[in-house]
Assembly symmetry: C2
Homo-oligomer: 358 residues x 2
């Protein structure tokens, strides 16, 4: 079967021919419908993040998949069920994190990530997965099911942030999303429709006209141009934020977040930057965090509970939003287009097969 | 009556003569037993923190008090009850934070702090307080009741830190307390006896023999000399920490805390530094927070619930610990000694009257 992979020493994704996998006991065979592309894929291709499976000369890409159960094996699924796979798998033996359903909290070395770190991803015509790592999706959401994984990552981060404020009465109203990429925009919609934030802001560095600014404004949020209003100026220029959601990987934003927060606010950090030394007013940031009870929480990955929440959330996203967000779905013959990252691209996917109702 | 105050332009505490306060409706008149001295008092005296009451030429010091109800007025107390006052008061009108019992979460401008910011403290022969801001203390704890306020501050920070980890299964075993001052040592005892941490570390910069190192080791904790093992080296030299509790106000510690944490760990920040610019590897810290789900929470002050927890905790502290911690209790005639801060001083208090069972 065909798969999209990056080879050792390679700098771009290529189609490779690989054996169709055979499901082990407890596993289902899934026919792949679509697999989304995101910034992590770009980092994996560039070699900045993740790693090849041991003894493999290539890594099959893709961690944002949706598919149809072809052979349910002894899982709880039936052929024809639409499913979304989670990303982390035990590295050989299971461990306590997987055993209790929290692989997202496993430390480095205690997990593989399919398509990212140590295990092949989902960008192939078929993939197998233990049933416990597959989440059901209503059939009518099959076309946009590749958005479940990024939504689940946002759900987890928002959950962690809210937990960090759960020992007191916290009723957040304002949120600033840093980054107008697909994750930022998905988060904006999630905060509006699922988490009832009243006033939303999204920071980017784009000139109008721009399709992401159009989406931001169509969602009723305010676009903040970081070239005019840097993160540390947002509180004065607009308002102090109850939640700041960092989805850029730009390390200075993580620290400027403290200054954008309202008293008792929380910053959720999701970006994965490279080492970068710079100067901060550490005394002032430390003082502000203490005297105003501010918090910062890092968040990575997501577990089945977050995937289930994301499935629910996906069902409530407006149709216009998904239409505007997904700027391209490409077949195998044109798969390179799915990896193009320019100002007209927001979210893309590779389609391996079409969904047809049985 | 006599009070200990700092005058505008003054650089050291002095005894002033002031009118004995008259309780308003809803208030009790309390005869002061003892009032503790801490680092915040030193900052207030030095002018680095807090502020004078409007129109007052002096600020009566003291926010760690224990006293005996002299006149209960229409409060729920009876004369002879031993009580500890909380610190924050509404600045004139009440507001939502006080109304819901969370003055510790009020932002700047929405509170006074007795003895610190905008309102006289408790270092006088008598003070008044609304009954709702007084917490009952068992009589047998009267002598050490001035430790309730700092314990309550630690309780709040530990509560906030644990809340930040409440969305997943977190079973902390190791904790590092930064700072071997009285708050650090109280926290160490609290973490051991009330929060069941198994392995405790306390970081300072003192040579042996030293009374704080003796207490650390008597508590079964490990002393970490920051001159040999800086915060960022603790994880390698000892172990990564589930909780780091910063009680130094040394801003570089707040950022190095991220490196001392175990995956999924949390740093509680309590110190109040001055502005200070320095370089950090912001990219690495940001990356670590995200990929290892780490959190930092700032925490200030405490509310009645934390005071009540602190009263409970105080009852469980070993007697030897309080004896070793409290290095001096001084009467009005020798009050300057309570403000001396040298290597043989750990915790001091000023005694205004002796507790006698009725």
């Amino acid at each position: 079967m065909n798969a999209i992979a990056v080879e050792r020493g390679g700098e771009r994704p290529v189609v490779v021919d690989t054996a169709r996998p055979t499901p082990a006991p407890g596993e289902a065979l899934v026919r792949t419908l679509r697999v989304g592309v995101d910034g992590t894929d770009q980092e994996v291709i560039a070699g900045g993040h993740g790693g090849f499976p041991a003894d493999a000369d290539h890594l099959i890409l893709g961690h944002e998949a949706v598919g149809v159960v072809e052979d349910a094996g002894d899982t709880r699924f039936s052929p024809g069920d639409v499913v979304v796979p989670t990303v982390r798998r035990p590295p050989g033996e299971s461990n306590e994190y997987f055993d209790r359903g929290e692989p997202d909290m496993a430390p480095s070395g205690e997990y593989y990530e399919r398509g990212i770190e140590g295990a092949h991803g989902f960008m192939s015509e078929y993939f197998t997965s233990p049933g416990e790592y597959l989440v059901s999706l209503p059939r009518e959401l099959a076309d946009v099911g590749f958005l479940v994984e990024p939504l689940s990552v946002a759900e987890k981060a928002i959950e962690l942030a809210a937990a960090a404020r759960s020992s007191f009465d916290w009723a957040p109203e304002s949120a600033l999303v840093l980054g107008n990429g697909s994750l930022g925009l998905l988060t904006l919609a999630l905060l509006r429709d699922r988490h009832d934030y009243e006033r939303l802001y999204c920071l980017g560095r784009r000139d109008r006209p721009d399709p992401t600014i159009d989406i931001i404004e169509e969602l009723g949020a305010t676009y903040v141009d970081s070239r005019e209003t840097p993160v540390e100026a947002v509180a004065d220029a607009h308002e102090p934020m109850d939640l700041v959601y960092e989805a850029t990987g730009y390390a200075k934003h993580a620290f400027a977040t403290v200054e954008a927060l309202a008293p008792n606010g929380v910053g959720a950090l999701l970006g994965v930057p490279e080492p970068w030394e710079f100067e901060i007013d550490g005394g002032r940031l430390h003082r502000e965090m203490v005297l105003e009870n501010k918090a910062l929480v890092g968040s990575v990955n997501s577990n089945v509970r977050h995937f289930e929440a994301a499935v629910e959330a996906l069902g409530t996203l407006p149709e216009w939003f998904c239409d505007a967000l997904v700027t391209g779905v490409y077949g195998l013959g044109d798969f390179e287009s799915a990896f193009v990252d320019d100002d007209t691209t927001i979210k893309t996917a590779v389609q391996f097969s079409a969904y047809e109702e049985r």
